[in-house]
């Protein structure tokens, strides 16, 4: 069959200037806070100051001048007081009970920000304290529990046969996404009683459904429109549904547009974080390092409400065995409640937590057996044809060994300072996998739709996938331009607006390129076939031999007409043309939700990382000298953007490894400022060498598997392994702060 992507067009695989780039470098791109809305008010949120309590009083201080201010409490909610996600446990505004510090209680809007600030201090709240739980291991409330096994009957025997049984407990803390643009929305009431909601977000349809439920609005009277978004990393996946609800309530009550832009402290304290995790491994190994079997127990701290914890947990549980073969194993995973702000989506979505654990555990196994940790990885790495712990046979595009070998070769020898030096050097490796797209039956249930619309010179992409910096607009345009046979600038991408674009699902799970991009490429091919047939009919030719290439319809070498002529005539004769397709899961991919078995993902991306560190034995500071990564992404649609994703994700992961941890006291966030929650600066970030491996996936558009989350998985364990190599101390907990390293080293190493 003639496939458009087989034809040389060349946008896919090349690196044109990103399409949103010019506006961004000229300072013209308008983020939410850059927009002004006539008559607009500012909104603020009254938040709880205690972790768990009954609210006994919530009212305005009569001594304060409330004129001109709009005040909203749970009683003002016209629909259901819930933030629509997986469960309906989280209120938009707390009513009787607060379950975490910083929980929204009430809202105030007004024209002057400073006066609002003062008003916040004049909302009188009294609490009757309830017992609070902060330690996830002590929590008895379980949001979700998964248990799965492979060859369970052989586990006992594996432990009997083992040359050694290796046990370890690994922990990671809360990480903040720290997009540089804080959460921001503006709700604009419409004359028809409806509402337009503009905002910085990843998932307009999540917000759309949340607002419908909160306000009881039908589709016709609601539009959710994404504005240019200054980073997301998962942090604008679920939380915008909350802040959008707040702005909408204030806008409905005041009758004016209401903008809520979080300050940094509020954003850090109140929005979702990466789930802290405790992972226990008990593993039977042979003397040569072969994994014989094991047990893995995972506890994720979900925080006070369920949010996305069940899906974070399932991804974490599936990735917990790592990129390795396990003849038999058992995984038990639970997400539990604590009285801390809810945790949610963050790049990697549960996988970085459990992959840190398995990678450190591999280091521990190698150490205990006196083996080279890279050799242990090599010995156990998954290969094509192997079966994963969920029973999935890996049929194609498996690159664990290729990635590991590429990184080891590039890393070369490490120069070490002389013995006895106060600065030690070390190198660590990691090997990870990352399932592409939604877990399990997620895509099947979602039925994502996306399409293209004919324009006089090309087409317009219609998708709800958001550009959050990763390059969605450019990558979509490349794929569609190649499929349609037109120049890149002939493709426009519609602003994600729920009243205009189909629901192509959330911009998460590295699914945008593979799932939505693939659907779009399919729609664009369908458009090309439709127009080719029309061109053949209009200008004479054999429809099966007519195709568009370089913006011109031809039959073989014979030119029929330029695209614009064909499109113009088609528009004139048939009116607007929209082709919207639904994503179809590749055949033969089967997942059983109840048994937690089967093809957890259609395909996996693979990455190996090597990190060189220098550890100062006087200050216990770790400096990262260099990072080398090899990533199999299937196909790099835009190599520069793809490398940019890997570099950015790598540094975010390095920050998690050494610096980043949210701290709480009695459930209250302590380090809610950029002075106290530290992310890497340009001087902390090392030079990064990025090796792209393109082991194409048959069902991915042009072979692509997705890249967004993969780089978050490997660097942190590689840092910990490098510190182990440099100092002999295995620090089983992230971040490896100087304090923790000092404690782990005890006295100075010899």
């Amino acid at each position: 069959m003639r496939r458009a992507e087989d034809m040389p067009q060349g946008w896919v695989g090349s690196s044109p200037v990103r399409l949103d780039g010019l506006d961004k470098v000229l300072g013209r791109a308008r983020y939410l806070d850059d927009l002004t809305f006539p008559g607009q008010l500012w909104g603020r949120t009254v938040r709880s100051t205690v972790a768990h309590a009954r609210i006994v009083r919530l009212e305005r201080d009569p001594a304060f001048d409330w004129s001109g201010l709009t005040f909203v409490t749970a009683a003002d909610i016209p629909g259901e007081n819930v933030v629509q996600l997986i469960e309906s446990d989280q209120p938009c505004l707390a009513r009787d009970v607060v379950r975490h510090c910083h929980e929204p209680l009430a809202l105030i809007a007004g024209p002057d920000r400073e006066r609002l600030e003062e008003a916040l201090a004049h909302v009188l709240v009294e609490y009757e304290p309830l017992p609070a739980v902060f330690d996830p291991l002590a929590s008895t409330q379980i949001f979700k529990h998964y248990a799965y096994e492979r060859e369970a009957g052989r586990i006992d025997e594996a432990f009997v046969r083992a040359a050694r049984v290796v046990e370890g407990r690994y922990r990671v803390g809360h990480q903040e996404q720290l997009y540089i643009e804080p959460n921001a929305v503006c709700a604009v009431p419409r004359p028809d009683g409806g509402l337009s909601l503009h905002g910085s977000m990843q998932c307009p349809f999540y917000v759309h459904r949340a607002l419908q439920r909160l306000l009881g609005l039908d589709d016709d009277r609601l539009a959710v429109i994404q504005t240019v978004t200054g980073g997301g990393f998962g942090g604008k996946e679920d939380y915008p549904s909350m802040i959008a609800g707040h702005a909408a309530l204030l806008a409905r009550k005041s009758g004016r547009p209401v903008k809520i832009v979080y300050g940094r402290a509020e954003d850090i304290a109140a929005t979702t974080k990466r789930h802290p995790a405790v992972v226990d491994h008990r593993t039977a190994v042979a003397a040569d390092g072969t994994l014989l079997g094991g047990e893995i127990r995972i506890v994720l701290d979900g925080g006070a409400y369920c949010t996305l914890s069940p899906v974070v947990l399932s991804r974490g549980a599936i990735h917990a065995p790592g990129a390795y073969r396990w003849p038999c194993c058992r995984v038990d995973a639970r997400a539990v409640a604590t009285n801390t702000p809810p945790n949610g989506a963050f790049r990697g979505f549960g996988a970085p937590q459990t992959l840190f654990a398995i990678e450190m555990h591999i280091e521990k196994i190698a150490r205990e057996l006196g083996l080279d940790p890279v050799e242990v990885r090599r010995r156990n790495a998954l290969r094509e044809g192997d079966v994963t712990a969920t029973g999935q046979r890996l049929r194609e595009s498996v690159s664990a060994l290729a990635a590991l070998d590429a990184v080891a070769a590039r890393a070369g020898p490490l120069e070490r300072p002389p013995r006895g030096a106060r600065k030690r050097r070390g190198r660590g490796f990691s090997l990870v996998w990352h399932g592409a797209g939604f877990t399990g039956s997620g895509e099947v249930k979602l039925k994502a739709r996306a399409g293209v619309e004919l324009t006089p010179n090309g087409c317009r992409v219609l998708a709800a996938s958001t550009e959050i910096g990763q390059g969605t607009v450019t990558v979509f345009s490349q794929m569609v331009a190649d499929a349609l046979g037109v120049p890149l600038d002939a493709v426009e991408v519609a602003v994600p607006d729920t009243s205009r674009v189909p629901d192509s699902g959330p911009t998460v799970a590295s699914r945008t390129c593979m799932v939505v991009g693939g659907t779009l490429a399919g729609a664009a091919r369908a458009l090309e076939r439709r127009l080719s047939a029309f061109a053949a009919e209009s200008f004479g030719g054999d429809p099966s031999r007519v195709a568009c290439r370089g913006g011109v319809f031809r039959e073989g070498a014979r030119v029929l007409a330029p695209y614009s002529v064909v499109a113009g005539r088609h528009l004139a004769e048939h009116g607007p043309l929209r082709i919207v397709e639904q994503y179809s899961h590749p055949p033969g991919i089967v997942w059983d939700d109840d048994e937690f078995r089967g093809d957890a993902y259609p395909v996996y991306a693979w990455a190996a990382t090597a990190v060189d560190v220098e550890v100062d034995l006087d200050s216990y500071e770790t400096r990262i000298l260099r990072a080398v990564t090899a990533s199999d992404v299937g196909k790099a649609i835009h190599p520069v953007l793809c490398a940019g994703q890997i570099e950015g994700g790598t540094v975010q992961a390095l920050g998690w490894a050494l610096l980043e941890e949210l701290r709480h006291r009695d459930g209250r966030v302590l380090n809610d400022r950029l002075q106290t929650y530290l992310i890497p600066t340009a001087l902390d970030a090392p030079p990064i060498e990025t090796i792209l491996i393109e082991n194409g996936y048959r069902h991915g558009p042009y072979g692509a598997k997705g890249v967004g989350e993969l780089p978050m998985d490997g660097p942190a364990p590689a840092v910990a392994a490098a510190i182990l190599d440099a100092t002999g101390a295995l620090v089983p907990e992230l971040p490896i702060t100087p304090d923790r390293l000092m404690a782990a080293l005890g006295k100075d190493p010899a």
Partner: protein, 173 residues
């Protein structure tokens, strides 16, 4: 009773005036009084550099400069970096070509800091460039492509600073 200041300053080569509170942040004056929203706010406490502008020839965080101290000043923001006809500056062009901008929210600050570094004329070594942008946080890029962009621009002959609005002559560190 509000305190007020009749503020007059030169922004990107144009004289601008506004009546503001004397402790109003230069950041808010630029964004709200003058509609120059290219300059961003990421923290409001001097940590992120999203609000970087050049004030009387020096790189500053506009979120920490009170209006009273901008009286009579010469300011360059991201909007003043391109040529008057809108052609991107060599540094802006390098950001486009090298992939220096992703979500773009740090980009105006990075460009301003990078431009001030280039104006200083110091050799654009990896270490020097990283030091120059160490006060500008980026969460998307891992900095690699930003460093590349600045180095590429350093290797491109740049129009003399006088052609861009408001940038005073070089003052190396």
């Amino acid at each position: 009773m509000s305190a007020t200041l009749e503020l007059s300053l030169t922004v990107n080569g144009e004289t601008r005036t506004a009546t503001v509170a004397p402790l109003a942040r230069l950041l808010d004056v630029l964004r709200e009084a003058f509609g120059l929203t290219g300059t961003k706010e990421g923290c409001g406490e001097g940590e992120c550099g999203a609000c970087s502008v050049i004030l009387d020839g020096e790189l500053v965080n506009a979120c920490l400069v009170p209006a009273s101290q901008a009286q009579g000043a010469v300011v360059t923001t991201v909007e003043g970096l391109a040529a008057r006809d809108g052609t991107p500056s060599p540094l802006q062009q390098a950001f486009l070509e090298c992939g220096g901008a992703q979500c773009g929210i740090c980009t105006p600050g990075m460009l301003v800091a990078g431009q001030r570094f280039l104006d200083g004329g110091a050799p654009a070594t990896d270490a020097a460039v990283r030091e120059a942008i160490a006060g500008n946080l980026c969460r998307c890029t891992g900095y690699a492509k930003i460093v590349d962009s600045i180095q590429r621009a350093a290797a491109t002959p740049s129009p003399p600073p006088g052609e861009r609005a408001g940038v005073r002559g070089p003052g190396d560190r």
